[in-house]
Subunit: 395 residues, 2 copies
Amino acid sequence: MFRLLATDGLARAGELITPHGTISTPVFMPVGTQATIKTLTPEQVAGAGAKMLLSNTYHLHLRPGEDTIAALGGLHRFMNWSGAILTDSGGFQVFSLAELTKVTDAGVSFRSHIDGSLVELTPESVVDIQAKLGSDVMMPLDECTSFPTPRDYAREAMERTVAWAARSRAHRRMRGMGRQECLPHRRDETRAENTINGGADIPVCAQALFGIVQGATYPDLRVECARRLVELDFPGYAIGGLSVGEGPEVMNRMLEVTVPELPADKPRYLMGVGPPDDLLDAIARGVDMFDCVLPTRNGRNGFAFTSTGIIRMKNARHARSTEPLDASCDCPTCRNYERGYLRHLFRAGEILGMALVSLHNIAFFVRLMEDARRAIMTGRFKEFHAEFIQSQTER
Amino acid sequence: MFRLLATDGLARAGELITPHGTISTPVFMPVGTQATIKTLTPEQVAGAGAKMLLSNTYHLHLRPGEDTIAALGGLHRFMNWSGAILTDSGGFQVFSLAELTKVTDAGVSFRSHIDGSLVELTPESVVDIQAKLGSDVMMPLDECTSFPTPRDYAREAMERTVAWAARSRAHRRMRGMGRQECLPHRRDETRAENTINGGADIPVCAQALFGIVQGATYPDLRVECARRLVELDFPGYAIGGLSVGEGPEVMNRMLEVTVPELPADKPRYLMGVGPPDDLLDAIARGVDMFDCVLPTRNGRNGFAFTSTGIIRMKNARHARSTEPLDASCDCPTCRNYERGYLRHLFRAGEILGMALVSLHNIAFFVRLMEDARRAIMTGRFKEFHAEFIQSQTER
């Protein structure tokens, strides 16, 4: 499902082939936790250039439930997104959002953050849930540790993550999941195209199950976890449990020891990362895929990522500015609106402001990946990386 | 600025000619209080069929201020709306939102509902503010009474409204406002078309100033007010101070005595109305123009207007429904989304739900006006009206 097209140092340009389109890598996936990129229609998200997004098993299992989504034709049809979707396993959310979480080797039980009801997830049920959702890439249940984590517990969580990955894989094979069992994305003739696949029907769907490398901030545990997962032979590998407070230096060090253990012909996905600097640092270390709430969450708070750095739309200096948010951006927000208007919307508490800056921020992250890819293809990623850092003077 | 094309009983079909397009009447104007139709982009609003919208002098004067909007090229460019805009005078808002309001014959002073600052509006300043905003239709400052209002006070407010209307008109003439002083709508070549005017530049702009009929629920005061305003010869007449708690019977009675006093060749605008039933009742009595927050406010609360009545999207019965919101609607929401997904969005507190139902509701109101117009043109408005009432069985 992955084609490596070019390398530049450790940085890679490739293609991820999914049932919902071929995705150029490096790729950034906007986050649609509850089957919606907050404040935006899927048409707007596609208009910002995104071709693949992330949604959450944990949230969708709790509400509306995978059976409801399956009854409504699967996640793509449910949310009217014809591009690719990766679903996170819920591991991270169980440990960060849920209450009274209990972990055993069997799985996790916890109280829902919505209504306090008791919920259990196992490696097997998490695969079944994602099969019903019909995402293009599914993640196995993992145990995500916080920072800092004692070595003993980090090993225990890593061992469990590997064991769960093996069970997830076996369960998926036993259930015979492949082309025959996955939900095709029904495309209704009357629905508007969001043009990602040129309107082509997707007749069959093969969901890929990635492995997730854990091991906290211990290089040897990271290496061991990666090797054991590679032995299990997944079509792609995620690196989890980073960007949880350990700081960029430690994160980069973990990438430096982990990535070389992963096969060159498989995609590498750094989960939950991150600010533009971190994305480029990770690309420089051989990572291909990313997701993060930053463009949308910061967008809702009026923080805009631009070619000259982060600008705060609520700032009074923008009140009469006829400048676009980012003069070098061609997203719908920058084409159609001026800073003065955006500032007014935030000051007046209007939702449209959140939507327009979220839209721009997604376009910014998408273009950053496109620019990085072009630099890799032409052998000048290092220069591009340095130029980008230098350009970010506005704070 | 108005062409009467057909009548059917008292109901009228016509055209309102504005610097930003010719608007078919009856027309419903969605409300963009703070220079945005809440939760929607102007492209989405245009996509729902709206060609004219309303914005508020009161709110825009307080925030961001008419000078800021003028510096940013006027209201149309500020909010990227190339259709027509009517601005309310602020009279209604001063009496409903502001604090410590004092009315004298000179004007009104009040405390801003935003920051408590002291603000004064006069008939003259309200015209000047709207000239700076550059709306297509401006309204004079009026004194809007609540319900019930004693007769003495209703007369006093009506007298003041007439006097202010005369001063507004004189001030507008004295200032020589017409083609030369109004702000043209600059259309930037790089901006997306929202296609209302086929992309034509609007080289000059003549803002129309309407008169507003007050008189509370006293037929003789309404008649007197209408006659005195007609003597002043406005290009259009609004009927204000209704739908404030007096009920549909009294409102219809007020329309029945007021409308016959207004010239047939001028548009008639019923301010702040209303539910579909009230719109059709008013059309039946000769009204041409409407505005109301109902489609957007109810949309944000998950109440959808449909061809079979109002449905509540939060209701559990929609959880697995693959039906569109309204099977007889071709708006983007009904083309692309099912009730099950919309219900999920409301249950999960997602803004996209508010946006999609607001969009549908605007399309519903726009189509109701189009259908009414077609019925008038073919001499079957009465039947159309009765059929519509009968169709609204869902509650």
